[in-house]
């Protein structure tokens, strides 16, 4: 068994530092109060940890499987048969390219963490690994062997190279990358983190204010009038906003430059990145759900973000390389053609959206108005306590303005919401400002539930929810609310009938493939 490439400790160091960023920030914020030792201790731990990981990691590329032995105190031995490897994803940033190495991530059919991560190995090893995995899944491409696309996906030949044969489905021009940056506002997350970080140490706020006062630009903050405070707040907010846009655009270009989506037999292959080129595979058979999102910025720009949820594969950035985009940004008109290319069997052209009963708007309006009044009340109370608010009339205006605005919003929401059910696919759309369409192929439907709150019962409504595999619990499932009860039951029974019909065809296919 051999060790990783000799330059691995450097990359392991970076990865470890990245993983420790929150504890480090915490220690840094606290170190102003406590001693510096906590910070130094953590910082010292990182290179030691990186070296430790390098020394105690061994792997071997055997004929049938990959062997990995890690750790000294907590030993972990893994045997990964090549046939079980679904995807090989690689990352190559400029440092990788300079040194002729790459970070390899093997994904298996079960979800969560990647099956194995090799950080880093030389390119010859990567190629050998690819060959071994491909050999284990059967020789040659699916087309040559005449297998069906389902079986090809199951065998998953993983010759993952940008330049290998594959039909280009999508190429993102630079302007779309910038549009994605604008629409996603990733900078907001960083801003939230930084605010959280700075708020740990209120001295810094005061220091900042005193520093401004010392400059002579503004009087000391305790002497400001209320109007000046508001103006200052707005000014700072605007400046931060502009800074955030710049940062977001830069991030988008680094991450998504030259995003290419290729359609290879049974899977999608994407590559992206400016300095750090990543390649990711999505086996089509494992795609459970398509989600099309349009926030207000998308709507203004005339585009959408299309993502997929898959069963298996890593779930979040902490665990490994993640790609859930089918198209980070694409113009609205190209969404259906894109979906048709990727998933031809799902009746995309016959998306006849059925509307919800219009009387639902009143329910939505009442709920939102209650939430609005509660939040406005709380905000008003806090502002009053902080003496930023003199009289009661701004609050009264806030209360009253909610009524027409929320009424318009509720009516628009109910008008634009809808559902579409066909023999092969079920879809739901909702939202006014944050529009969303969710499409699930019929054979990916798992458990279905019909919910009725007491309010639903009073109005004769119910909501239907469809559960799928590998979905993100934070995002909404396929859900249709405010349906008439009879309609909810009808849709559910229709889907159950479709699933029943599929059992017999699946059985036949399964039996046939066993004979091949």
């Amino acid at each position: 068994m051999r060790r990783l490439h000799p330059v691995s400790p450097a990359f392991l160091l970076v990865k470890l530092a990245w993983q420790m960023v929150y504890p480090l920030l915490g220690a840094f914020a606290w170190s102003s109060f406590q001693s510096q030792w906590l910070l130094y201790g953590l910082l010292g731990l990182i290179p030691i940890g990186a070296l430790w990981q390098y020394v105690f990691f061994r792997f071997a590329l055997e004929d049938e499987q990959l062997l990995i032995a890690e750790g000294l105190l907590f030993r972990k031995n893994r045997k990964i048969p090549y046939a079980r490897v679904q995807n090989i994803n690689t990352i190559q940033n400029p440092a990788h390219r300079l040194l002729g190495v790459a970070t390899v991530q093997l994904e298996s059919a079960s979800g969560g963490k990647p099956e194995a991560v090799l950080r880093v190995v030389d390119l010859a090893t990567v190629e050998r690994l690819r060959q071994l995995v491909q050999a284990a899944h059967g020789v040659g491409t699916a087309a040559e062997n005449g297998m069906t696309s389902n079986q090809a996906a199951a065998s998953g030949s993983t010759m993952e190279d940008e330049h290998t044969a594959g039909r280009t489905v999508l190429v993102m021009p630079l302007i779309d990358v910038l549009r994605y940056g604008l629409a996603s506002q990733k900078g907001m997350l960083v801003f939230a983190l930084l605010s959280g970080f700075f708020s740990q140490n209120p001295r810094w706020y005061q220091q900042f204010g005193s520093w401004l006062a010392d400059m002579g630009w503004v009087p000391h903050w305790s002497e400001w009038s209320r109007a000046q405070l508001w103006l200052m707040g707005v000014g700072v907010a605007l400046m931060v906003l502009v800074l955030l846009q710049v940062f977001t655009m830069a991030w988008a270009i680094l991450r998504l430059y030259d995003f290419r989506l290729l359609h290879k037999p049974g899977r999608l292959f994407a590559s992206m990145g400016l300095l750090s080129r990543s390649t990711v595979t999505i086996p089509l058979a494992r795609v459970q759900l398509f989600r099309i999102m349009e926030n207000p910025i998308h709507q203004w720009l005339g585009g959408a973000t299309v993502t997929v949820e898959t069963a298996g594969g890593v779930n979040n950035e902490q665990q490994g390389l993640v790609m859930r985009w089918l198209a980070p940004y694409v113009s609205r008109g190209s969404v259906i053609p894109l979906l048709e290319t990727v998933e031809p069997g799902a009746d995309w052209q016959t998306l006849d959206w059925k509307p919800l009963p219009q009387r639902a708007w009143l329910r939505l309006f009442k709920r939102h108005l209650l939430a609005w009044w509660l939040s406005a009340g709380l905000l008003g109370y806090l502002l009053y306590r902080w003496q930023l608010l003199g009289s009661w009339w701004p609050l009264a205006i806030l209360f009253l303005i909610g009524i027409p605005v929320l009424a318009w919003h509720a009516r628009a929401w109910v008008r634009q919401a809808g559902y579409a059910v066909s023999a092969s696919r079920i879809s739901a759309c909702s939202g006014v400002l944050f529009r969303q369409q969710v499409h699930v192929k019929m054979d990916k439907v798992q458990v279905m539930t019909i919910h009725q709150s007491p309010f639903d019962r009073r109005h004769g409504m119910a909501s239907l929810r469809i559960d799928t595999a590998g979905s993100n619990p934070l995002m909404s499932p396929l859900q249709v609310r405010y349906l008439p009860v009879a309609e909810a039951v009808r849709i559910r029974d229709f889907v159950l009938a479709q699933l029943r019909r599929q059992t017999s065809t699946d059985c036949k296919n399964a039996l046939q493939s066993r004979h091949d």
Partner: protein, 158 residues
Amino acid sequence: MPTACWLGQQASHLRLRRWIGGAVLGILASLQPLLFLWLPDVYPLSRLFAVLALMLLVALAGFWYTGAAFRRYGFCLDDTALRIRQGVCWRKETAVPLNRVQHTDIIQGPLQRHYGLARLVIHTAGTRHALVNLEGITRQQALALRQALAFDADNGAV
């Protein structure tokens, strides 16, 4: 195993729930007079009566609620799915398609064993409904359901 639809839970399940709830409340209620005796300044007589009255209300509400939930609970196995209906105020009907069952567990605590009750846990490939629970059925029913689900679950397709 074909069943006439919408079977309910066992009456012993209801009794067990009520007894357990009652026991917990009883223990808490018996602690109150002790608190009154030991901490008279924090715990005056008025507070004792208020707390005991509150506990009585909770007991009555619990008694009514467990009865209502028991009456509402039902399950039905037909040739397309296993359906479970539950909930008093917030009602829910779960439908598990037969060919989406990954595997099943039968769980019995010591009290359940004494009464011959069991809980059937159905594992699916879903996310929010990766586990579907069917409570308060007899062990024989659970075994029969497991048999029926396994027979149809040759795909468990994902």
